[in-house]
């Protein structure tokens, strides 16, 4: 690591950079960063992927209130139209956000948020676990691929230098599967300081034990399996990255906005994400999982105490706060909100919904041409649905992922990261 970069990783330098960014605006920050001797400190394009695990009920999130069939299909959980109490937050005559999602509506109004309707996997599985894997690995029905699409991106764009451990992080103690693979990515533990009895650094204690270079010569002993190096490497990444991240993640950035304490850990996770982006360490990919969306029962409708209301309220507030917090860096950041599948158009017997198919994906960021619905709306008419019960898939989710990679992350067009997938000629055109 160059001394310049090291300096930038210390608290004061980070603070200074953050302050500069906030007072001068994103453009200035980028210019000043580009002018710095070490280009790795520039805030690069960032993609944050939030995965709502369990199969999120899209129809009660981005609601087709203008289609009377919606109310037929969901007699007890439908959300009322925009002119009624607790009604949807309309964006046009057909669609509106769930009434709890004021933060999303605001982002829509600011033209930062795009809705890609009828997104999903062309594979028809309704298994959570297959569909999550397919979404994470960027494959369709192919179980031979076990590497996350985000990890493939990191590998394909790696300069091979020591910058690796900072390019991608999971803001949770386990990697989302989209980040698993050969490229080392840190799963940031929920607790961030590792201290011994006398305040000594527990990480240092293991410095020697995990230092041995993978190329170590000498007799291979019992237990020295081929993957032993992988575990040692894993320990090395753990020590190096955590040591450098600790102060960034635990130090309140200057001008930081207050985050809501709802939606499980999402608020805290996005707060850390913002801190690390602002720190100028060159992070490019952040993965976050949020569980609890498998709403077979008591999903609820338009009451503020209903389950879905509370969950979406938390997500909406947290995401809204995040984009407020990174105001000056919005151009650099795209957030994708994905799930493994949508749920049945018709509610089931228990004020809930069962596993479905297509759903509305959200792309948010300063680079996104927001305030617009993308994709072909399949509608709720049975003949146009999937197997007469679910939203059809008219946009392969890999199309969205590809546009994020090529048009936002500036992946070179020659690189193809999704096996057996050809990008359709007509682009969605999500990015300017």
């Amino acid at each position: 690591m160059s001394s310049t970069r090291r300096d930038f990783l210390t608290g004061t330098a980070v603070g200074a950079l953050g302050a500069a960014g906030l007072s001068l605006g994103a453009g200035s920050l980028l210019r000043s960063a580009a002018a710095a001797p070490d280009s790795t400190i520039a805030v690069k394009p960032v993609t944050v992927v939030v995965f709502l695990r369990g199969g999120q009920d899209s129809l009660n999130t981005f609601v087709p209130y203008g289609d009377p069939r919606y109310y037929d299909l969901r007699p007890t959980i439908a959300l009322p139209g925009p002119d009624q109490a607790n009604g949807v937050l309309a964006v046009d005559k057909l669609f509106g956000f769930h009434p709890a999602m004021k933060g999303f509506k605001q982002l829509w109004d600011e033209k930062l948020l795009a809705c890609i309707v009828n997104t999903g996997s062309p594979n028809g599985s309704r298994s959570h676990f297959d569909c999550q894997d397919f979404m994470d690995f960027g494959t369709v029905g192919d179980k031979s691929v076990h590497e996350g699409w985000l990890n493939r991106y990191l590998g394909a764009t790696s300069a091979g230098g020591p910058e690796g451990d900072f390019r991608a992080l999971a803001m949770q103690g386990r990697l989302p599967r989209s980040l698993r693979g050969d490229f080392p990515v840190l799963a940031v533990p929920d607790r961030l300081t590792f201290r011994g009895d006398n305040g000594e650094d527990v990480l240092s204690l293991f410095d020697d034990l995990y230092k041995a270079p993978p190329s170590m010569k000498g007799p291979r002993e019992m237990g020295a399996r081929p993957d032993e190096d992988a575990l040692t490497q894993n320990g090395r990444t753990t020590i190096d990255t955590l040591r450098r991240l600790e102060s960034i993640l635990t130090t309140k950035a200057q001008g930081e906005v207050k985050y809501p304490l709802t939606a499980g850990r999402l608020g805290a996770q996005l707060q850390k994400t913002a801190r690390v982006i602002k720190s100028g360490t060159g992070v490019q990919i952040v993965g976050i999982d949020l569980g609890g969306w498998d709403t077979h029962i008591n999903e609820g409708g338009p009451a503020e105490t209903d389950n879905m209301w509370r969950m979406l309220d938390g997500v909406s507030q947290s995401v809204g706060t995040f984009f407020d917090d990174i105001k000056d860096l919005r151009k650099n950041v795209t957030m994708l909100i994905v799930t493994e599948f949508g749920r049945t158009n018709e509610e089931n017997g228990n004020r809930g919904t069962d596993h479905g198919h297509g759903y509305t994906m959200f792309a948010i960021g300063g680079n996104v041409k927001g305030g617009k619905v993308y994709g072909e709306w399949g509608g709720l008419e049975p003949a146009r649905t999937y197997m007469n019960r679910d939203l059809a898939v008219t946009t392969d989710y890999r199309t969205v992922f590809s546009e994020v990679l090529y048009d936002h992350m500036k992946l070179h067009p020659s690189k193809q990261l999704f096996p057996k997938f050809t990008l359709p000629e007509a682009k969605l055109g999500l990015f300017a």
Partner: protein, 537 residues
């Protein structure tokens, strides 16, 4: 002097590397030792030197047979440690009754209490009672993993607990989990798969967790709209359990069924519910009124019976399905042998299943006694899950866990809270799902806190090891390794830096002040528990 005996047996005294490279260079004794250690790593929650000695004394075969017949093994330490765990023996109905009887009644505030404080006290007490099993059952799982003499039973329960996952954070599951653990899993784990499956299918914990208790024949639309907002009424089919029964519990995903089969099976299971009247609260009931009448066909099989028999027939059909054998045996071999299950051993399990009509004792034994179980490619290649790591750390340091709550919290930090897996898949046991960069730091901190007495309710006494180390300062590292890594096979990566640290203080050990020696033990033991080797099994 067991450490010295061990070192001599391994031919290690004064030798640089621990063991020579090729298997053919290993002495017969050492080879036998290696096999014992491999077996113990997979059939216990952490190998102590005493465990190795026990297998040597009994012989591998006799030891395994004894473990396969756990009822015959006294388990007094567990019984002692679980005294005072009031909820473990409560059935579902008993839990409801207990709540009714012990829920604090309204009354005048106590001395020094105003009305608000009194109400808060009552609420806290009510919450405590409601959460009792959700707290005690997972804690009992940990304590048994650490202290039970019936180690294989506890290991296999870990498998079945995840195969048939339920989550106590889902409302009423917490009232049924004690009975589930005791009367479903523990009772049936060595019997036939069919009996186990049937017990899970009819248990309120599963019926509640996967929503089947409210699933009923779809009503006509008009009735549904009419009844829709009526609190507590349900009015239609719920596919959740039917899908997971096929996908996760029996034949495996997309392995012989389609979406229409999910719907048909859900119809078959309509009416499988939980009683809520005074007489049957918390028990399995079949609600005739919920049940979908009319012909049904699942996986090409026409359902010929009626009522509750339909579901029972289908559960039996799925239990006996050839895809179920294949699927469950593949998972078992992955759990016991290798993350990429060797085909040959899966077949061994499938054959034993066929011969024994799905007897789980026979299937488990067939896998563990087959020569391929010991193939070099299977040795030290599985990673410990967080539960396995934590339990084995507590076992090898001989920790005295008086109160497990601090440990349970740490399991949460490692993303494996017992009985709180939200996904019906249960927790994975594959290395790729646990050994992400970053995870090790949490494990290291646990090791450091454990050995430094920073886990409230947990004590570690290193004095015996220290005394032995003091007598043998020249082989101090082996004394420690013998005590803490008895089941592992240390490689150069750990040994070089570890020895260096030991060598630094080797000469001083005899003269050290006790507290310094204690301190040195803490550091070295932390290193061993945090070593790459200790993360493997």
């Amino acid at each position: 002097m067991r450490s010295l005996a061990w070192i001599v047996a391994w031919g290690l005294l004064g030798v640089g590397p621990l063991v020579a490279a090729g298997a053919d260079e290993v002495a017969p004794d050492a080879a036998a030792n290696q096999r014992i250690r491999h077996l113990l790593r997979r059939t216990t929650f952490g190998v102590r030197a005493a465990d190795v000695e026990e297998v040597k004394r009994l012989g591998v075969e006799a030891w395994l047979d004894r473990q396969l017949d756990p009822e015959a093994i006294p388990d007094r330490e567990v019984d002692d440690r679980l005294q005072g765990y009031e909820s473990l023996k409560l059935s579902g109905p008993e839990y409801w009754r207990m709540l009714e009887e012990r829920a604090p009644r309204d009354g005048p505030p106590g001395p020094g209490e105003d009305r608000i404080a009194a109400a808060q006290r009552r609420q806290a007490e009510l919450n405590r009672l409601r959460e009792m099993a959700a707290r005690e059952v997972p804690a009992s799982v940990l304590l048994r993993a650490v202290y039970s003499q019936r180690q294989l039973q506890e290991v296999m329960l870990d498998f079945w607990r995840n195969h048939f996952n339920v989550d106590v954070s889902k409302d009423d599951v917490r009232y049924y989990v004690a009975e589930w653990e005791g009367q479903v899993l523990r009772k049936h784990l060595w019997g036939s798969f069919e009996d186990l499956l049937m017990a899970t299918a009819k248990h309120p914990a599963m019926l509640y967790y996967l929503d089947n208790h409210v699933s009923q024949a779809p009503l006509a639309r008009a009735d549904r709209v009419l009844r829709g907002r009526d609190e507590g009424r349900t009015n239609g089919l719920n596919e959740n359990y039917a899908r997971e029964l096929m996908e996760l519990h029996t034949v495996g995903v997309d392995n012989g069924y389609e979406q229409e089969d999910v719907i048909q099976l859900a119809m078959v299971l309509t009416g499988w519910s939980i009683g809520n009247a005074a007489a049957d609260r918390g028990t399995f009931v079949f609600r005739e009124g919920y049940h979908s009448r009319g012909p049904k066909k699942v996986m090409g099989k026409t359902v010929k019976s009626e009522g509750v028999d339909e579901g029972e027939d289908m559960v039996r059909y799925l239990a006996g399905h050839k895809n179920t054998r294949q699927f469950v045996c593949t998972k078992l071999v992955r759990f016991l042998v290798a993350d990429n299950p060797p085909e040959s051993l899966v077949q061994v399990g499938v054959d034993a299943w066929g011969k024994s009509k799905g007897n789980l004792r026979a299937v488990t034994k067939a896998i563990l006694t087959h020569p391929d179980f010991y193939a070099p490619t299977n040795v030290m290649t599985k990673a410990k899950t967080p539960l396995e790591f934590v339990a084995s750390a507590l076992r090898v340091v001989g920790a005295d866990v008086e109160s497990p709550q601090a440990v349970m919290t740490r399991l949460g930090d490692m993303y494996q809270e017992v009985y709180r897996c939200e996904d019906p898949t249960g927790y994975s046991d594959r290395a790729v799902d646990w050994m992400d960069p970053g995870v090790l730091a949490v494990r290291w901190q646990f090791a450091a806190d454990l050995l430094n007495g920073r886990l409230p309710g947990v004590k570690v006494d290193g004095s015996a090891v220290l005394a032995e180390a003091r007598q043998n300062p020249e082989v101090w590292e082996y004394v420690l390794i013998d005590a803490l890594l008895a089941g592992q096979q240390p490689g150069t990566l750990t040994m070089a830096p570890f020895r260096k640290r030991v060598n630094d203080v080797r000469r001083e050990v005899r003269q050290m002040r006790p507290q310094d020696r204690q301190r040195e033990f803490q550091v070295l033991a932390t290193l061993l528990l945090g070593s790459p080797e200790f993360q493997r099994q």
